[in-house]
Chain length 232, copies 4
Amino acid sequence: MLEALKEEVWRANRRLVESGLVVLTWGNASGFDPGSGLVAIKPSGVDYDVMAPQDMVVVDLDGRVVEGTLNPSSDTPTHLEFYRNFQGVRGAVHTHSVEATAWAQACREIPCYGTTHADQFHGPVPVTRYLTAEEVAEAYELNTGRVIAELFRDKDPLAQPGVLVAGHAPFTWGKNPMKAVENAIALEAMARMARLTEAVRMSEPVPPLPDYILEKHYQRKHGPNAYYGQKK
Amino acid sequence: MLEALKEEVWRANRRLVESGLVVLTWGNASGFDPGSGLVAIKPSGVDYDVMAPQDMVVVDLDGRVVEGTLNPSSDTPTHLEFYRNFQGVRGAVHTHSVEATAWAQACREIPCYGTTHADQFHGPVPVTRYLTAEEVAEAYELNTGRVIAELFRDKDPLAQPGVLVAGHAPFTWGKNPMKAVENAIALEAMARMARLTEAVRMSEPVPPLPDYILEKHYQRKHGPNAYYGQKK
Amino acid sequence: MLEALKEEVWRANRRLVESGLVVLTWGNASGFDPGSGLVAIKPSGVDYDVMAPQDMVVVDLDGRVVEGTLNPSSDTPTHLEFYRNFQGVRGAVHTHSVEATAWAQACREIPCYGTTHADQFHGPVPVTRYLTAEEVAEAYELNTGRVIAELFRDKDPLAQPGVLVAGHAPFTWGKNPMKAVENAIALEAMARMARLTEAVRMSEPVPPLPDYILEKHYQRKHGPNAYYGQKK
Amino acid sequence: MLEALKEEVWRANRRLVESGLVVLTWGNASGFDPGSGLVAIKPSGVDYDVMAPQDMVVVDLDGRVVEGTLNPSSDTPTHLEFYRNFQGVRGAVHTHSVEATAWAQACREIPCYGTTHADQFHGPVPVTRYLTAEEVAEAYELNTGRVIAELFRDKDPLAQPGVLVAGHAPFTWGKNPMKAVENAIALEAMARMARLTEAVRMSEPVPPLPDYILEKHYQRKHGPNAYYGQKK
């Protein structure tokens, strides 16, 4: 069942890995079919190399396995919370990509420092609060989804297609599984750019190259008597 | 028409991607043919993998599409401003490469800290001002080009073949499309080196390895009684 | 003898390199067979490209070569100390992977800043003291193992499957050679994330992108009059 | 003539590129044959992809081209100074590898912070002074070599097989061209590790992950009721 969706979810998981966002097996992508109310998701802890489309596990919105012999991702209850709450969202992704995870671990939202960010997210990338000890003790993964949904009560999830979970890592989503992957790729780039922007902004110029060396190097390559490279 | 130029522009776009400067579809290269006054440029938001030379869009210097069924890059009006203003420039590139973008987002010019920079750019890499709300509201991409051209009024564009747009990202150019790509590659390396130079310069030595460990490791590999590796 | 173990150790060494943790020949993996009490380990200073399973050297727990014509890794005495002391450990890995080595050189344990770390290590990654001049002078590699074993006297090595040696680099281990490699990969990611977490946490927001530019970029790509990309 | 040396030098240049140390054409390797007193070196500004062994240029120790139709690397006079002054050195390499160049641009020697460094270099990696305006004006590349030789007057070049030229970049050397390349690779890793060591050492711990989340994540994957992954 849902062969097209399983294929789509499998391809999304493959692209996650090819994009360098996933270390070992730390990542998963899912897709939602609103017609049937079913979700296809990556099996838990399975090597990407040996994973085939038919290994994707199909679950309903209550998390019951409808098709598949493998355990679904342990993060499945978090994904389901997105599909139950976020209008129009049909794909979701979780990674521990390094740069976004650093912001999540630092419990800081990612400010919008440039157009790269503004092209993808309509404002800062929000960060959740930590889950409480009670939320962790019972239904941890479900409560992770609830804390995210709580944060997005007044937001448009398609305009801000991602979040950082404090002390954990990013989740992204989109109109389909591949869009969710693209948002994960974009988020990682935005997170890195934001870190470097602060570093460059807070840093100060140090002594530059002496002018006579600058001049020498520029002229030996581009000046009228240039001698770098081969005769043209 | 302009098959050679379209091929050249296509190859420049491919090399951009192979150089790791482009995330998703965030980059574009164009080329200018002064004889006909026409420009070939990458189509907007198209995947690099499926793009062929004949997909390059041909526009005139006023931005009218002369050939091609796809939309040209949304940054086309910025590129055209270069060809209208910069004598001898026949190729232009836009990327959101991470290190150069960090400087653009920090609104800092890149100082010339070494010969790597001096080999490519005759002085610091300048940064524009932010566009005003008015400039953004009408003809945003054209005004991006104008703000750059304004900054280069007294500069030689071929001696300083690139710029950072505040809050946005770098643009580079050159005598042909491939040279513009090479300048984008060089700019990214220069931006990274400049950031690291400031970090290393402002940092201070911390306690070194104890001498007796240094000595042990050096001697076990290179000393008269070395026992690392295989007998020679 | 022990063909299966030698193959397993060889594969672990190959994966180390493919994972980007090894520069030149700076890394080695070994495996332990509790039945025979023997260990298979990479030969010293041999290129990974030309190394075959039968090149793995077999030694006993006292370090005597039992099979093989090449010298075993110079770090063999350190590996043996693990197998003699750590119940259930059957694989060990040593690398000079950059991020973990930076923490080792800074003589700092890696705090647990997030779930990526908590998924792999039950608490901070500890760092040893420096070896004394006496410990370096006699049986350096054995004493490296002893200093690690000393630090783990009250720890569960399988719950904290790795360590940083002060001024040196990381060692990891596990239930088999491939698990030890996976722990080395995880440790490198954790070390990088921890460094970036501190950097992001101690940094502060700088001026963000003006709102009117954020709005323009978001809307030109996603708004009702979007003109980025191709018509759908 | 010197076909074996030219092949060796060509292979060294290829490996430089494959090691990621070279951006565009910014790097070169040479080799010295003490019997004939001749040197084979990379031609200037030629693409690595199209370069063949027979393109290597042969020069004598005074820099006169003895064989070859291409211009030798513009850095040839620097290389020759090594072969004239450094006993036992038969290979030399110049790159603008990013991390080592950052230290050169910051005019700082690289302290020895760990055994990775001690395995390769017998002490800190020294940095030259800037060349004077006079030294730059006449025989710039030769004077670059002289400033290096001056710094090594009391050092053993084979025990400290590399240097940072202030405001410029690293040079390394060795017993043969491939050893010089390996020293360039090692130097880049050491430079990166040293930068990160200072960053980690000067940084301070920030709030860790709450214990109840650490415990939850560790136990859900490794505890008696683990539910991560597939049933074993």
